[in-house]
Amino acid sequence: MSVSRRKFLGWLGAAGAGVISGGTAKAASNKHFKGYPDSMGVLHDTTLCVGCRSCEAACNKVNALPAPKQDFTDTTVLERKRRTDSSAFTVVNRFKQSESDKQPVFVKKQCNHCLEPACASVCFVGAFKKSPEGAVTYDESVCVGCRYCMIACPFEIPAYEYDKALTPRVVKCTMCHPRVLEGKLPGCVEECPTEALLFGERNKLIKAARKRIARFPERYVDHIYGENEMGGTSWLYLSARSYEQIGMREDLGVTPAPKFTEGILSAVPIVAGLWPVLLTGIYAVSKRKDKVAQEEQSQAVAEAVTQAESQAEVKLKKALVLAKKEKEMAVKKEARKALEKAAKAQKAAEKKAQEEATEK
């Protein structure tokens, strides 16, 4: 097949463009984020929580959130299960084993500040960052509002300001990052009256939690929630009941969220590199096939023509020979006829002459 220079350059261009379009995503997926070892966290011992909602009030205050519909001292809001929303970074839920359960469990819910956050991994403008101090922070100034972070978060934390027309933001707990940088405690931790919340280095918190479990094995289930969930979170939990019973999913696994898409991201350069070569090859093959088919066809036609021609020639020759023969035969026949006629005439003449002679 013939490939013009222009076509060849075109294919090269396609290959090049493909590689460029795939390169960036791969480069990023190679970066393995391991979390910051000295980062801070909070240990939430649910066995100590009394459901007073002071943490909610403190959070509302330090983050200057809108005033709630029901006052923070009103515990009737605990009747139904709540989640974080655009006006509440944190909520406390009550879990009863039965309607008559005299010892309900209270659990505070807020962003768990994953070591490798799903929200940061899926954000296509990189608005979320895991800070070395432990907080997962959000940069409103670049957020497009696609809300993929909300789809991806396994803990169902980020909320959105759906009511704002021009400046809607994703809203979630900041682990009081600005306060922590100033050396203060997060608002909720500071206000907690029962020490159900403990702020400190995550590594030390894990050790402290283990100690509590070891000292009171009958009080705690032997599991620090958040130590390994989704690759580990900065917020850690202790519980007397299975976490499933207090509204926390135990089926999340220990794989950090970015791993879920790592495989497919690494397929990008394969597609971008392989397709142009493969497709160009297929194109060349199909072109070649067409050409071969065409050549074969014209060859077959030519052959058929020559064959027909030679056949016709033979036929003609035969016909000519036949005609010649026929002609000869006809001539012979005519000649014979003429001779016979002449002979007859001669005979007749002789006969007549004889008769005339006898008459005489």
Partner: protein
């Protein structure tokens, strides 16, 4: 022939006829309602027109307009690859309508995204402000932006022939091979990536739909959607724009339907098989007996296996009518699959009363955007050489 083609460039409705045709009236009402809701959306925020909430940040504008929209616009890359790369020249007359449908499809997807995202004027931010390259959505955004450009260039020769820009048109036509290959790369990447987006939510998407094969499912089913949309769109075009078609289009019509139906039957069969492999790999058989399992079987049997069978029968018995209806069924099945993944099987762990049901205004906007597409399609095919070869460029194919 050329005389006929010149006659054909006249507008579809003679000027004497009333503007109040049923099509115009219905389209007009939808567009006016859509326009009013648009104002509401951009002055009152998403809350004013949608039922989106913190558990369901994505509604039908993503499930239908984006996910289904992109899949159904796959006809462009499927057809141009078949004709230009695989050399199936007998389908040549299907290329331009398919490219046009694809181009309009992607353009509408981008319009729909402006309604859905919180701050649409920031849509270029992933490229100009800060790149979140670990995000599958970044890949989707980059590929969709590039592919929309590719489709625009692929479509432009028709517009240039119409406008008489011969030289520009000839330059663009020379790029056909390059654009086709580039289009296939981009389509492979973003069609699969739309599925890969949900790889992030293994705890939220029901196990029957969640699979590490999601990207493959999305890509393969986009080929099915593309093939079916070409058949579907061509049967509608033959019904309403037959007078715009030249002999080549009318002659190739049946061959395209039979060929594409056969291809779709094969791809549907393969799709069914890899779906089963996915279930087997994760050993999810036991979910089939649950209510979600029943729904999964409805999708798999009613909208994958059944169309596969019907396409095969239609292609074998040369039954054009059956193929036509099967293409509609298949298109519906693809839409259902995308809605299942994005909405119905998403958040399967939440109680029924917390499930999202679209607001009527969300549906109205989706309808508005589809109507925009139909009106634009009609405007273009009644003016530009889409369903016939332009007489000046008759012999070039």
């Amino acid at each position: 022939m050329s005389d006929e083609a010149v006659l054909n460039t006249k507008p579809i409705t003679p000027p004497a006829q009333s503007l109040y045709t049923p099509f115009n009236v219905i389209a007009g009402i939808i567009l006016i309602v859509g326009f009013i809701i648009t104002i509401r959306r951009f002055t009152g925020g998403l809350d004013a027109v949608t039922n989106l909430n913190d558990n369901y940040p994505w509604g039908i504008w993503i499930g239908f307009d984006l996910l289904a929209g992109v899949a159904l616009a796959a006809g462009g890359f499927v057809t141009s690859a078949a004709v230009y790369i695989f050399g199936m020249k007998r389908y040549h007359s299907a290329v331009r309508p398919a490219i046009l449908t694809g181009f309009l499809g992607y353009a509408l997807v981008v319009i729909a995204l402006h309604y859905d995202v919180g701050r649409p004027w920031r849509l270029p931010y992933p490229f100009i402000a800060q790149q979140g390259t670990t995000s599958i959505l970044f890949e989707v955004a980059a590929c969709v932006a590039l592919y929309l450009t590719v489709l625009f260039i692929e479509f432009s020769p028709a517009a240039m022939e119409w406008l008489g820009l011969r030289r520009a048109r000839n330059i663009v036509v020379k790029l056909t091979m390059l654009l086709t290959i580039f289009g296939v790369i981009l389509s492979t990447l973003h069609q699969s990536s739309l599925g890969a987006m949900f790889l992030m939510a293994p705890s939220k998407l029901h196990p029957l739909w969640y699979s590490s094969y999601l990207p493959v499912y999305f890509f393969i089913s986009s080929i099915i959607a593309g093939l079916s949309m070409v058949i579907f769109e061509s049967s509608l075009s033959h019904r309403y724009f037959a007078h715009k078609m030249d002999e080549a289009h009318l002659n190739e019509k049946e061959g395209i339907a039979f060929g594409f139906a056969k291809a779709a039957a094969l791809v549907l069969f393969g799709y069914f098989a890899i779906k089963v492999v996915g279930i087997a790999m994760d050993n999810n058989w036991h979910y089939l007996t649950t209510s979600y399992g029943t729904w999964f079987l409805v999708e798999m049997l009613g909208f994958v296996a059944l169309p596969c069978f019907l396409y095969a029968v239609g292609a074998r018995e040369k039954n054009l009518n059956l193929i036509k209806w099967t293409s509609a069924l298949t298109v519906f099945g693809i839409v259902l699959n995308r809605l299942n993944i994005c909405l119905i099987a998403y958040n399967y762990h939440l109680p029924a009363d917390e499930k999202y049901v679209p607001h009527w205004m969300e549906i109205a906007i989706s309808l508005f955007i589809v109507t925009l597409g139909v009106v634009a399609f009609r405007f273009i095919v009644t003016r530009m050489p889409i369903l016939y070869a332009h007489p000046d460029y008759q012999d070039e194919h």
